[in-house]
């Protein structure tokens, strides 16, 4: 009896996760795929994709999404890496920094967007501070529809503030997995701090960097709430267009087509990361 229990226990323990993923990820994903290739009347067709490609916002949404990805992800990784290395150097009071850095993790992305809207809006904190300091005479319209650079900067800042801590937590966990002997051996054999980081710490941190990159990239493709809060539709992004097509245009098929594009991009990005950053089999400790 005991062996039988032992055999089924792992499956029993996995069951809640599998059920959760099936219900909330797999089924919606299949539904979205089906929706995207179903004609509005009946039968299969690629009409939805044609409508999506012909949409005036499609190329903008595509460009903006990739632009945000290219700006935000490296910025977050670098910031988080510097913060993680700082905290890991165990200076006095390093624990407090971790708590401060982690605060934004507790705030939902829409709330974060609204919070930053209060900073960047015409009568927001930024303008009033600058005016009080005498730097500007008139409020600057940071988020005006014709100020693309302003909107982009605001979104990059807000997103970095909101989600860098997630990368940080992953990287700190990864750093703590590296035995201290490796740091000491690097010191002893003549590496200064920078060369130690480049030659020893970063390569050993690769598995964590890979996880962080994958998670951040997935979220970057889905960037929506912060963009919507700060720019409305002045800055179309793929996930936002999916929402607009569904909620405003009431066309779930084209919305699904956008979702499928996001899915496709995500899969491609993950494959690239796994290829580029993956551990060679020979390196994996038996």
């Amino acid at each position: 009896m005991r062996t039988r229990t032992e055999r089924f226990l792992p499956f029993a323990l996995l069951l809640p996760t599998i059920a959760f993923l099936t219900l909330l990820i797999v089924i919606p994903m299949v539904q979205a795929l089906l929706l995207s290739v179903m004609a509005e009347s009946d039968g299969l067709s690629l009409d939805n994709f044609q409508r999506m490609f012909a949409d005036v916002n499609f190329s903008d949404a595509w460009r903006n999404t990739l632009l945000l990805l290219i700006l935000i992800v490296p910025l977050q990784i670098v910031l988080a890496l510097v913060m993680a290395l700082l905290i890991n150097s165990r200076f006095r009071g390093h624990g407090i920094f971790l708590y401060i850095y982690a605060i934004p993790l507790a705030i939902s992305d829409l709330a974060a967007g609204i919070l930053w809207l209060a900073v960047f809006t015409e009568r927001g904190y930024l303008n009033s501070t600058l005016q009080n300091a005498g730097v500007i005479d008139q409020p600057v319209l940071w988020l005006s529809f014709d100020n693309f650079a302003g909107i982009l900067s605001a979104i990059v800042i807000a997103e970095s503030w909101r989600a860098t801590a997630l990368v940080l937590v992953i990287l700190i966990a990864g750093l703590q997995l590296i035995p201290r002997d490796f740091f000491e051996a690097a010191d002893l054999f003549g590496a200064n701090r920078l060369r130690r980081t480049v030659h020893v710490v970063l390569p050993l941190l690769r598995p964590s960097l890979q996880s962080a990159l994958i998670i951040r990239t997935i979220f970057a493709f889905q960037t929506f709430a912060v963009v919507f809060a700060l720019a409305g539709r002045n800055m179309p992004v793929l996930a936002g267009e999916a929402y607009t097509w569904y909620a405003t245009n009431r066309n779930e098929h084209v919305a699904a087509a956008y979702a499928v594009v996001v899915l496709g991009l995500t899969v491609v990005a993950i494959i690239v990361y796994l290829r580029v950053l993956g551990l060679r089999e020979a390196e994996v400790q038996r």
Partner: protein, 351 residues
């Protein structure tokens, strides 16, 4: 010149003193073993010499240079870590050449010296492999090669053999000793294994609770332990100890009397501990009565545990010794080999 002078070094972790005013001079080219039980401070002392720990007081000099306040990379030392700390993301060749690359040596020189190091340790066939593809013994040799190619005059080793299985350890022990004879680096070697210490060290510093209990050549320490602790730590089996006092020409304790012919008069009646090695006790027709507890045949000889009075004593006997458990026998102690310690302090007393 690369002698090492450790002068009045103290190290405190929080409120726990780890090293208490250590003084130790290591000669150029010497193989110095720091030996002691875990927590005695031997690894801490090594890490202070390496610069991986800062001393609280005292100075450390390597050659003519005071290195006390220098970073590890500026001390011109190389080290073999207990865990080896061989980088898993680098091939064997890159690992061996790591220190040379960090010191920005020219490429041809690095290649040549990596090759030499690999040849010295039999690693040439593995230069392109990753550490995960090597056995524990091979990884250990990579760590040694990485340290040796540095050409640093000082080599530090922190229990480099403790992660190897018994058979491999025997081999690696001899290999390291041969290597030291070839490269003549001043070496500090930390171990808790007294056999390693005996077989490899030019001198041994036996440490206990953050202080050096005895410093000397291996056989000197073995024959004349400065304290009861050293006698009990060095040797396998450890030295036997009997507690008692000299009265009327014999050393008398709880249920035994050992006849003694020569002894300083002023030691009469003083509480002492007698120390005697297993190989200096013989089973005889008459002498000190004892009762056999266990007989362990060990191939080359037999180890017989007997009760002398109420104290267990280990006796090294010929393999064909004809004794059985519970048998009453007699022992003879070779008087010239007996060692005497103060019963209170454990310090050796000269006869």
């Amino acid at each position: 010149m690369s002698s090492i002078a450790i002068d009045a070094v103290s190290k405190i972790f929080g409120k726990t003193p780890a090293l208490k005013d250590i003084a130790l001079d290591i000669r150029d080219g010497e193989f110095m073993v720091l030996l002691g039980p875990s927590g005695c401070g031997k690894t801490t002392l090594l890490r202070c010499v390496a610069g991986l720990e800062q001393v609280n007081s005292g100075r450390i000099r390597i050659g003519e240079r005071d290195v006390t306040d220098l970073a590890p990379r500026d001390r011109n030392i190389a080290m073999v870590f207990q865990s080896y700390a061989v980088f898993p993301h680098m091939t064997v060749g890159s690992n061996i050449g790591f220190g040379l690359r960090m010191k920005r040596r020219p490429k041809p020189e690095i290649e040549r010296r990596v090759r030499e190091g690999a040849e010295l340790l039999g690693l040439v066939p593995f230069l392109d492999r990753y550490p995960a593809q090597l056995s524990g013994g091979q990884r250990q040799r990579v760590a040694v090669a990485r340290a040796l190619v540095m050409d640093a005059p000082v080599l530090l080793m922190d229990e480099p053999l403790s992660n190897l299985d018994a058979l491999l350890r025997l081999q690696a022990r001899a290999d390291l000793k041969r290597l030291h004879k070839e490269v003549k680096r001043t070496t500090i070697y930390v171990t808790h294994d007294q056999v390693e210490a005996m077989s490899m060290g030019d001198r041994i510093a036996v440490m206990r609770e953050g202080a050096i209990e005895q410093l000397g050549a291996p056989m000197e320490i073995y024959d004349n332990p400065a304290t009861q602790f050293v006698g009990g730590f060095i040797g396998s089996p450890p030295m036997n100890f009997l507690r008692g006092a000299i009265r009327d020409g014999s050393f008398t304790g709880d249920g035994f009397a050992v006849p003694i012919t020569r002894m300083r008069g002023d030691l009469q009646g003083r509480e002492m501990v007698l120390g005697v090695r297993a190989e200096h006790i013989t089973i005889a027709d008459d002498g000190i009565p004892a009762r056999v507890m266990v007989v362990e045949p060990l191939g080359s000889h037999a180890l017989v545990t007997v009760l002398v009075g109420k104290t267990a004593v280990k006796v090294q006997a010929p393999i064909d010794v004809a004794v059985r458990p519970d048998q009453a026998i007699n022992l003879h102690f070779d008087e010239a080999t007996l060692r005497w310690m103060d019963a209170g302090t454990g310090s050796a007393i000269q006869r």
